[in-house]
Amino acid sequence: MGNVITLMEESVLSTHKAEMDTLLTSKGDSQRTQYPYVTGTSVIGIKYKDGILMAADMGGSYGSTIRYKSVERIKQVGKHSLIGASGEISDFQEILKYLDELILHDNMWDDGNSLGPKEVHNYLTRVMYNRRNKFDPLWNSLVIGGVKNGHKYLGSVSMIGVNFEDDHIATGFGNHLARPILREEWREDLSFEEGVKILEKCMRNLLYRDRSAVNKIQIAKITEEGLTVSQPYSLKTFWNFAAFQNPTVGAEGSW
């Protein structure tokens, strides 16, 4: 989408100014993401006894179409961190490129020091906020979690650079559907199985109520020892609730 307009074209176009105004961007500037195209939906992260658990589905929606169903939205960053992203997938890939370079330079020092989740989180906050100030945002909400030196960390950054840390984090619809569950049921000393159960409960809820959710999820775990991302799997769903049977019977305007 880089607009290179020759002088001749420009003079021709200027005669059709009115209709062209809407098509022409300012000469020389390139436009970046103003609206997202391929998007991922919620990511949920929680702290548990040994570290962090993060869950996200594998869907990439193109507007209202569920176009891609194998998008990995949780990735590893360095030795100690995980990043999960919702929002524009191509911007997430761009962020992964930035992070790749960051971790590379960190490793090149070769001095026993390494960037932990807190450092990655703050670095991304700076990146997102600076992009927002240039009116060229990376259209993502990010969840960064990890464990370093026994210290668990879980934080979030939005596309406008709002960042915070918490014991449980969610993006997008997850904020409305998953966090209330987590507020009720989250505890400091959750075991791995308990944590997964809570996450699955949240994801199932999202599956029922978020139209851009797909039933193919991955759960990632990171502890002091290392990281594992599960193979994709589906949640069991139940559709025989009484309210789902003949849902239009007695509805407004029906007979």
């Binding site: 020092w109 001095d111 026993g112 932990g116 807190k118 450092e119 703050n122 700076r126």
Partner: protein
């Protein structure tokens, strides 16, 4: 070192493979007043001798706080040292702003060394004429580094630079094996002893020296004059020959509140500290 035909430019090698300008820069460090550093597993102490130009003037600052977890003591051209300290502070602040985390001292030292190296390879620059003892904490514990005008850096358990530093080094060489396990107060005491060694008979008072400490749970801070004087009095080392026998010393507060010199009885068992170089 004598003048020769290869020493005009920093970019001229001698036939023996030496860069004389760089070596002359290291001489400038040797002419500065002494700075010493020593570390344990959890603390690092920096100390230096302050020499004022005259009785009328104040002494030059040779110890700089770079960040809560890093401090530096310099010897040589203090103006160069000041400029490098400003660079170090800047680097620490920028790293802290981006990562909300303290800059690992090992990385700062490498950046400093690379900066110094540039000046050894440009015909329009000169090497920095200052040696820096960088004390800092990072994830792997307490560190003490020495940065040379040549662009080299070394890590030390204890070190001394500047004029008559050899006296201090001799003292430190005798004692350094204990330093890893030393307490903070013992470390400060050893620093003061080492400073005394370089004074060659001059009386050690807090006007003549500056001491700074950084450690786990203790941000880098320069001890104020009364505290240092109290420590000196406590340890009874202001010019007397007998060092305190280490094993008999009680850790008596050590922070200068209620100085009670109870070391009197424990004096002079190990033999007099050698006052010669």
């Amino acid at each position: 070192m004598f003048r020769n035909q290869y020493d005009t430019d920093v970019t001229t090698w001698s036939p023996a493979g030496r860069l004389f300008q760089v070596e002359y820069a290291m001489e400038a460090v040797k002419q500065g007043s002494v700075a010493i550093g020593l570390r344990s597993k959890t603390h690092i102490v920096l100390a230096c001798v302050n020499k004022a130009n005259s009785e009328l003037s104040s002494h030059q600052r040779k110890i700089f706080k770079v960040d809560d977890h890093i401090g530096v003591a310099i010897a040589g051209l203090t103006a160069d040292g000041r400029v490098l300290s400003r660079y170090m502070r800047s680097e620490c602040i920028n790293y802290g702003y981006t990562y909300e985390s303290p800059l690992p001292v090992g990385r700062l030292v490498v950046q400093l060394a690379d900066k110094a190296q540039v000046c050894t390879q440009r015909s329009w620059k000169r090497p920095y004429g200052v040696g820096l003892l960088v004390a800092g904490l990072d994830e792997s514990g307490a560190h003490l580094y020495y940065n040379c005008p040549s662009g080299n850096y070394f890590e030390y358990q204890a070190f001394a630079i500047g004029s008559r530093s050899q006296a201090a080094k001799t003292y430190l060489e005798r004692k350094f094996e204990k330093f890893t396990e030393s307490s903070r107060d013992d470390l400060v005491k050893d620093a003061l002893f080492a400073i005394r060694e370089t004074l060659q008979g001059e009386k050690l008072t807090s006007h003549v020296c500056t001491v700074a400490v950084v450690g786990v749970g203790e941000a880098f801070n320069i001890l104020d004059q009364e505290t240092v004087q109290t420590l000196i009095n406590e340890f009874e080392i202001s010019g007397e020959e007998a060092p305190i026998n280490e094993s008999n010393v009680e850790q008596s507060g050590g922070d200068g509140d209620g100085a009670a010199p109870d070391q009197r009885g424990a004096a002079a068992e190990e033999g007099a500290a050698p006052m010669d170089i």
